[in-house]
Symmetry: C2
Subunit: 235 residues, 2 copies
DNA sequence: CAGTGGTCTAGACCACCTA
DNA sequence: AGGTGGTCTAGACCACTGC
């Protein structure tokens, strides 16, 4: 029986209120002390929950004034680590995948270094990622061989890799991600159904499990015209 | 007399230790309880300070194991709101500016809406941003007229806008930023000293002061070959 | 002025790691 | 078993807002 953290329970209940429009965008959320009383937890726990909601862009806090529900204005905000599947669902799109390649190889030295491997092999998984059936991105993902057996790997045609890794006890916990603008190579252009040299967003992501062990290295190429990346920054 | 927050004092002292290599990358930082004893503050205060350092990518915490100084591996990480000037300094580059345009205009409707203006005019400031003398980005920045007088504005050729706004009591506190890949327009290409249609990273940023009032809207176009954007994401 | 979120204290127990 | 960071409590005072 998995123990669910208190502040997570609180967060979900408030998220639910927002999603159901029980508290409408722009409207005020009860004060932190009131929430603490209602949920029968300490104010610290309430604040932990609200910190996450703030980071996700769902609420906005102002000292002396209160906390209000934000009306999402730009696209979906990405302040936390999400899988492609999760992200597309958040944006209200239906994700799907097309598996292009799934092989076991020994990767290049830089990738071996990032994944802290010597000469072990990895799974190399290439997928075209679609939203509402339309190709949005190409993802090439390197998973240490030891993390995945062949049978598990077979389900990846449709499923979420993060979900799978979670069931194996190696859920991603944090990642370093970089983004860069580039031109689509002919191969990318063909897979994404765009012309060569059109602008694309290229991401590299190195993810770690809760032990700080590298669990995946991913490069993704997103169509420049169909995708943008949003963050909330605090001073 | 400005009151400096306790956790900020603590953060700076630890940052100093890291910068001076008194604690080397990979080495362990004293436990939170020990730090609390040393600095004579509560553990909560220590944790507030460490949270920021973690978000900035300077330390890495693992439950049961401890906290170590991260060796920066990718480029500079951007988890917090920085000005161009600050960012370039962090990357060890020398920032400079070339002012292209500085006018007072009434902006288009979408920008008026973002800045919550009716028909008031704004300062429209276009600058080429350079690192070590080389053009890196074009920045077009819209500041509500009321926030800046003509004399202040004159210093912008060389100075930091954020510093100036801070002195006027309207320092940016948070911002919403989006990033997109695109092709350089002929004008952009000329200013950035690249060919037309080369990939660029286009950012839009809407910043707010501590009262939640919009203080600037900025669009920036960065050379795709000279710039990438890094973030640390937590699950 | 009362009410809000921001900061801070001094404890406590837990989950997890290393030895 | 002892030490670590993660969670949580029950208080307190402060800075700021808006009436």
């Amino acid at each position: 029986m998995a123990r669910i953290k208190l502040h997570e329970q609180v967060r979900r209940r408030i998220e639910r209120l927002i999603a159901d429009q029980a508290i409408k965008p722009g409207a005020q959320i009860p004060a932190e002390t009131d929430l603490a009383g209602e949920f029968n937890v300490s104010r610290t726990t309430i604040r932990n929950a609200l910190n996450v909601l703030e980071q996700e862009g769902k609420i906005e806090r102002t000292r002396g004034r209160g906390t209000v529900v934000r009306q999402p204005r730009l696209g979906q905000l990405l302040g936390r680590l999400l899988s492609f599947t999760e992200e597309m669902k958040l944006r209200g799109l239906t994700p799907s995948n097309r598996l292009i390649e799934m092989t076991q190889t020994v990767p290049s030295t830089p990738i071996r270094t990032l994944l802290r491997l010597d000469s072990e092999s990895v799974w190399r998984i290439r997928r075209v990622r679609c939203a509402n059936g339309e190709p949005i991105a190409i993802e090439t993902c390197y998973i240490p061989w030891s993390a995945l057996n062949e049978q598990d790997a077979e389900n990846l045609g449709n499923g979420s890799l993060y979900e799978l890794l979670g069931r194996l006890g190696r859920a991603p916990d944090r990642s370093e991600q970089s983004a860069q603008a580039a031109s689509a190579t002919p191969e990318e252009a063909a897979l994404l159904n765009i012309e060569s040299n059109r602008p694309v967003l290229r991401f590299e992501r190195l993810s770690f499990d809760a032990n700080g062990e590298p669990i995946e290295f991913v490069t993704s190429t997103y169509r420049g015209d169909k995708y943008s990346f949003h963050v909330l920054l605090k001073r």
